[in-house]
């Protein structure tokens, strides 16, 4: 029987042998509305080499694609650039099926893979600056610790100028096209930004350093081949430029108002806050948590200059959806924001204080005092909400 899945030749000696996950919608709490891909690459040289594998359920698909090029048992080397299971999940089965001469990973990768698979697999360590001669293809390695896991590593194929960058420069985007230049740039920029905001934002200082260091590696860069989404064969500098922009975290004239509501009181306050922000010429995105996903909120925060948060008090606590999104944002460490807090309550009203504490932990600079409404906001409270919005807009304007 002929295999269903086929490889795609992406350069003279390299084939894409990954998998397309059209149905993925939840990537560890990140809403992946457009699905994803798990990219794996086969390098044909004297030593046939597989760079990364796929998520475990896609093992057969990857093997079929490999088989469309060569018999899988001809693979000599397997390189693991990243231990996370969407790239390593199929690694044990691959090793069992292929029986490669050697498996390679970074020192951190060796430890992480061992803690995933609890195996006695021998793995050869690669460090920054190491090279590997495949016979007709020379690979170089750059450890990219904490971009975005300790084990993360880049593999560079010198002769063809291909940077196998693992999760860096990737995006969750399932498509029939394999190259970025075949896709709509607006979609690419949105999905790349969403990936950056959800996976890499808190590591921005490291990303700035990596981008600064890149010229020093003297890479004759022709293509960036990440492990998710399309490959950048034309102007790979485009995505590097986007990363420089996002890593800088410069505030823009945009405010995000995120809130939830029990009986529409906090929602009314949110709309009044938004009106105040708009009146000062600042763009606003109002995100009710009832219909907004945490991963979309952080994507909006990525290029915002202000974060305003509203929550009703429920049983002395934050409303659960607001606590969720605050925890998520805090971990991703946006920087340089101004903000404020508001919310309705019935008797004790602790939620606003909880928001103030969370914003302080996130180093958000409070633009003004919070506004609280007892049960249902009257016009005077709503007027104070408009004023809160105006003050946030002014504080933001002063930083631009």
């Amino acid at each position: 029987m002929k295999d269903t899945f086929r490889a795609l030749k992406i350069s003279e000696n390299v084939y894409w042998v990954g998998a397309i996950d059209w149905g993925l919608r939840n990537f560890h709490g990140y809403l992946t509305s457009r699905g994803s891909t798990y990219n794996a690459f086969l390098i044909l040289a004297d030593k046939v080499t597989l760079v990364d594998t796929v998520k475990e359920p896609f093992f057969d698909e990857m093997m079929a694609r490999i088989r469309s090029v060569i018999e899988p048992d001809r693979i000599d080397y397997v390189i693991s650039n990243h231990s996370e299971m969407d790239h390593s999940g199929a690694l044990p089965k691959t090793i069992a099926a292929v029986r490669p001469e050697k498996v390679f990973a970074s020192s951190m990768g060796i430890k992480a893979l061992s803690s995933h698979f609890h195996w006695d697999q021998e793995i050869t360590k690669l460090s920054t600056g190491d090279t590997l001669d495949l016979g007709g293809a020379n690979l170089r390695f750059i450890e990219a610790r904490m971009l975005h896991w300790p084990d993360s590593m880049f593999t560079f194929y010198d002769e063809e100028g291909i940077l196998f960058s693992n999760d860096a420069f990737g995006m969750h985007l399932a498509s029939s096209e394999r190259f970025a230049d075949e896709l709509d740039e607006t979609v690419l920029r949105y999905e790349a930004a969403k990936y950056y905001a959800n996976i890499l934002l808190h590591l921005s200082p490291l990303i700035e350093r990596l981008i600064d260091k890149l010229p020093g590696f003297n890479l004759n860069l022709k293509m960036i081949a990440p492990d998710h989404g399309p490959l950048w064969r034309q102007d790979p500098e485009t995505i590097i430029g986007w990363y420089s922009e996002w890593a800088a975290q410069k505030p823009t004239s945009k405010a995000v108002v995120v809130y939830d509501t029990m009986w529409q009181s906090t929602a009314k306050m949110a709309r009044a806050v938004a009106d105040g922000i708009i009146s000062r010429g600042v763009q606003v995105k109002l995100l009710p948590m009832e219909g907004s996903h945490r991963s979309d909120v952080i994507t909006e925060v990525l290029d915002a200059g202000a974060l305003v948060v509203g929550s009703p008090t429920m049983n002395n606590q934050l409303y659960p959806t607001v606590a969720d999104v605050l925890t998520y944002i805090k971990g991703l460490r946006p920087r340089g924001l101004v903000g404020a807090a508001f919310g309705s309550y019935g008797w004790s009203g602790e939620a606003v204080g909880h928001i103030e504490n969370a914003l302080a932990e996130m180093k958000v600079e409070l633009a003004c005092e919070s506004v609280k409404a007892l049960y249902v906001p009257e016009n005077d409270v709503l007027a104070r909400c408009v004023e809160l919005g105006e003050k946030v807009a002014s504080a933001l304007g002063a930083k631009l």
Binding site: S107, M108, E143, R145, M146, P150, L203, P205, L206
Partner: protein, 52 residues
């Protein structure tokens, strides 16, 4: 003595305790930790640490 936090992963270096696993004796001030020392949890360099 000032503690230092790894901004990449959150590991905290406490000079009073040092870090035995990576060969830094208790009582070693941050300034005296070798320049090529890396975070024992995530492997980034000293330049990624900030005082806490």
């Amino acid at each position: 003595m000032t503690k230092y936090e790894c901004t990449a992963c959150g590991f905290i270096y406490d000079p009073e305790k040092g870090h035995e696993g990576s060969g830094v004796a208790a009582g070693t001030a941050w300034e005296d930790v070798p320049e090529d020392w890396v975070c024992p949890l995530c492997g980034v360099g000293k330049d990624m640490f900030e005082p806490v």
